[in-house]
Amino acid sequence: MSTAIKIDDLWVRYRGEEDYVIKGLSLEIEEGEFVLLMGASGCGKTTLCLTIMGIIPRVIKAEVKGNVRVFDLNPLNASPAEIAKYVTIVFQNPEMQLVTTSVYEEIAFPLENFGLPQDEIERRVEEVLEVVGLKGLEDRSPASLSGGQKQALAIASVLALRPKIIILDEPTSQLDPQGTKRVTDLILKLRREFETTILAVEHRVEWAVEHVDRIVVMNDGKIILEGDPKTVFSKEIKPEETGFRPPQVSEIAYNLIRSGVTFPTIPISLNEALDIFRGILDERKTYS
């Protein structure tokens, strides 16, 4: 395993702004790791992602201090084509990246740019359309799709490239549960088969805690909390401060603790919660 992303003491300040958006942030992500980036709007999540992509400062002008490595590349001075071989991003608003006139072309276009053979392109297009649930819509115009379908298409077009690192900015925010499950399955398949490193920004926590290796919580340009999901939710998370809510089963536990109930550990998943809540009632029965 090598290090996929390494950030050392990063400072970012947009041109014309007084304050830094990223304030001395350090982060290391291993190849194949699935990291969830969380925090309230405006905490610097998107700025961090754009800096890893090199979009900051190449396209969006900003003062950048500190070191960023993406495998053996420095995205701050590498060319877009070099970076694109390693890392791609799915934006929060799919309309920002849909550029062609048909669903098929939307996925095939970047593959053609990379010079892949036609049969390989066709195979990959069919594969990703199947996985994101857009099969049969190859000839439709992306503009005619629903919000959720557009998001699925944006993800599909990036996945077809099979990058080593995928950055997902709220990949499922406009998807319904079935769409979310399909995208989740797809991400997990990518990890399994291609050891893709994933950095996701996502507010929907129940979706995340089951699958991610690590949660990184940002606030005001810095990392304030970091660890596996179990560690992160072991203390009460306040949505107003962090921008996200804990899993509902953890929220139940926090409330019960306030009422004097003792917990061996804070549950983060449904099955764990069932064991713990039943355990508490069983124990009470033994002593009553």
């Binding site: 959720g148 079935q178 949505p239 921008g243 899993p247 069932l274 039943r278 508490i280 009553s288």
Partner: protein
Amino acid sequence: MKERPIVEVVNASYAYPGGIKAIDDVSLSVEPGEFIALLGQNGSGKTTLAKLMNGLFKPTNGTVLIKGRDTKKMTVAECARIVGYVFQNPEHQIFASTIYEEIAFGPRNLGIPEEDVKRRVEEALKFVDLKKPTDAFPHLLSVGEKHRVAIASILAMEPELLILDEPTTGIDFGRSLQIMRLLQRLKDEGKAVIVITHDLYLAAEFAERIIILKDGRKFADGPTKEILSNKNLLTDAGLSPLQVTLLSESMKNYGISENAVRTMEFVEEFLKVLRRGYGSRV
């Protein structure tokens, strides 16, 4: 005396040019003071139904009445005076060069005198708690702020029913709570609110009535607790039940009496069982 519903949808269908039927024989009515969450999978017809209710679309079959008047005989502006629609993506809605102009546009279009427009803009901004200079360029605001400008610009029309299309998508949970609390206040003031959402957590905590669409048809319509605690119904509609519902269902044999849909419902129920020594298991 019962007030007349704000909107009555009567056996309405809507087919897009080209024949795709997005809404299929839907009937429902919306009363003043209701807080409704409209749920359903992507492509189930939620946005189309919203646009039928505010007169942007006219039904291809059946009728939509706003305060008893057929929307086919009303202009879009007449409809918008009563039913406001906040777009899913605020970028689709925001076009003016200042926040003030953005919010003043609607009331001006209604022919409201300028001094009254000014009052409406100020009230709307105060309501959404946006503390930016009113001459600021709206496109440079954050996503959450743009959402609030979009809501304010509809509020300034002083509609009786506000329909919001996924108002919490793409904004963090703290801000989502703020928006839902803001809508709660509108509801308390007697306005009706319909929120289109995928977020069952927020729907459970805030809405009093749930409508679920599936393949363009009305699949469920009833009190929040009744609909969201029905696991099979949700699954059939392609929705995932909340953790709290699954948890309480799996603990029935421990004396948890009913399927909870809100966090605190389960907390209170659990404490009750715990305090009575949980003798009711057998």
